[in-house]
């Protein structure tokens, strides 16, 4: 049978097209207006010429770039190593905190104190305590490299955040899932491994990635210990020229580095939302 759309449908579709065209037009217009206002306010400011000279100087950007880039390579290595350890420790701490076995009671206690402590303590203080305090102990076998101790500080702080995120995921898994697994004869550990954790990690992937983005950015803080990372390299350039453009170059590179992970997080969140809509959970 051939189908010819009714007049009603044609009218409805035309109205939808008009509405979507109108939305696009309004969005474009508002972007132009806001952009224009910002430009006028910033460039019209009395000190704009001096700010542009000290923060957006193309010459200094070009000369600083190779040094900042070398520093960024250090950040990149620190990020990746810290991320691997943070995921492992975060998972172990979350498992310890959610376990109910009496044997693990001391571990549970330590894990709780650990997360409370390191979530509360500012990262900068952890960096000082670890980076300057540990070498101060003068124990010969402990490395006193700023890079290693800085990475350790990042791992200490971010493991606490990540552990809490994973724990929230474990607790969000429906208890009936655990019950169904145990009813099949699976042990506590098998239930955790095959039923609870896979569901928990899926639930918390977006907040987990969010923490990793934050860690990437904070890897720049190891510069306070003297490690020559991108931020430190920019600082050295600035100290020679009294121009702040190198910092902006470093900042821009950090943003570029985190964009793939943030976009991936957005994409994943959208995908999960769509799946939920399809399942009728909304």
């Amino acid at each position: 049978m051939s189908y010819s759309p009714s007049a009603l449908r044609i009218a409805r579709e035309a109205a939808r097209r008009r509405a979507s065209l109108r939305s696009t037009f309004i969005a474009a217009l508002s972007t132009i207006v806001i952009g224009a206002v910002l430009t006028i306010v910033v460039t019209g400011a009395p000190g704009f010429a001096r700010v542009r000279e000290s923060f957006f100087n193309a010459h200094y950007a070009r000369t600083a770039l190779p040094h900042v880039f070398t520093g960024l390579w250090l950040n990149l290595r620190v990020m990746i190593i810290a991320e691997i350890f943070v995921l492992i420790f975060g998972l172990l701490i979350a498992l310890a905190r959610t376990s109910k076995s009496p044997v693990l009671y001391p571990l549970r206690l330590i894990a709780t104190i650990y997360t409370d402590f390191f979530r509360g303590l500012p990262l900068l203080l952890v960096l000082f305590l670890v980076g300057f305090g540990i070498p101060g102990l003068q124990i010969s076998w402990i490395p006193n490299s700023a890079v290693i101790l800085g990475t350790v500080s990042l791992i200490l702080t971010y493991s606490a955040y990540v552990a809490e995120v994973i724990r929230a995921g474990i607790e969000a898994v429906n208890p009936a899932q655990r019950m169904a697994a145990r009813a099949l004869g699976l042990t506590q550990a098998q239930t955790q491994r095959h039923v609870v954790l896979p569901q928990a990690l899926r639930k918390v992937t977006p907040p987990l990635l969010n923490d990793l983005v934050s860690l990437q950015k904070d890897s720049g803080l190891i510069s306070v210990l003297g490690a020559i990372d991108a931020i430190r390299a920019a600082g050295i350039e600035t100290a020679q020229s009294f121009n702040f453009t190198p910092y902006l170059v470093a900042g821009g590179l950090f943003v570029l580095l985190t964009i793939p992970l943030t976009r991936f997080t957005d994409w994943l969140t959208r995908k999960q939302d769509r799946a939920r809509v399809q399942q009728g959970q909304w």
Partner: protein
């Protein structure tokens, strides 16, 4: 011959509320008993005590002569021999149908992946679900999900299969699908204990129907005896209410 499952003076309370009052019953091999009774009469609790998801206060439960409520018994080993199916299906959403069904064979019964999968595919195709093997539970209808959940328990060849209101979340057409599967399991000789509000189950698969009232077995009989000519006033009231609601 001693019964496969023997429950002696089972007592269970939640706090101060007594849910099962010194309840005793036996279940022979290949026998199917259906538990009926109002919500809160103790049907589900009884099933949850048998697979040790609930600890009991007093009494004993013997499975194939072994006291499974003995404190030295490993509950995981008992549960590996008792199949359980729930009202809410409780399939694992991150695993495909095939992975759901092969999880216990592989990790509890130590079968190889290929053996477990071959066996699961046999079962699925026997019950018309072979084309769903690689789908995820979300994409199945309620009736399909519940049939998969039943097969997930059946593949482990349990000594006894416990079905706890398995059709309460389903519409009449899907109930018929599940009932057909359970009828076939009965023909295979599966020993079953079924808690249900669906009297079709009682009529079609029960060797004996038990009417529970306030944690005790109030009346016992064949399906026709108990459903047509109940003798206790409690059972008459219950069946009268069902008849009024058009569910008898």
């Amino acid at each position: 011959m001693s019964p496969l499952l023997e429950i002696k003076d089972l007592r269970k309370s939640y706090g101060t509320e007594l849910v099962l009052r010194d309840l005793s019953l036996t279940l022979a091999e290949h026998q199917v008993k259906v538990l009926i009774g109002a919500s809160g009469s103790g049907k589900s609790t009884l099933l949850r005590c048998i697979n040790l998801l609930e600890g009991i206060d007093d009494g004993q439960i013997l499975l194939a002569g072994q006291d499974i409520t003995d404190i030295d018994v490993d509950p995981d080993l008992v549960r590996a021999q008792v199949g359980s199916v729930f009202q809410a299906f409780n399939l694992f959403p991150h695993l495909s149908v095939l992975e759901n069904i092969t999880l216990a064979p592989r990790y509890v019964h130590n079968k190889s992946r290929s053996d477990a999968e071959a066996e699961a595919l046999d079962l699925l195709s026997r019950f018309g679900l072979a084309d769903k093997a690689n789908q995820y539970p979300d994409l199945l209808s309620g009736g399909q999900q519940q049939r998969v959940a039943i097969l997930r328990a059946v593949i482990n060849r349990p000594k006894v299969l416990l079905l706890d209101e398995v059709t309460s979340a389903l519409d009449p057409i899907l109930i018929a699908e599940v009932l057909a599967l359970i009828t076939e399991l009965k023909a295979d000789g599966m020993t079953m204990m079924i808690a249900t509000h669906e009297m079709g189950f009682a009529r079609q698969v029960a060797d004996e129907v038990l009417f529970l009232h306030q944690g005790s077995i109030c009346e016992v009989g064949t399906p026709s005896q108990l459903l047509e000519n109940p003798t206790t006033p409690e059972c008459q009231d219950f069946l009268g209410a069902l008849r009024k609601a058009g569910r008898l």
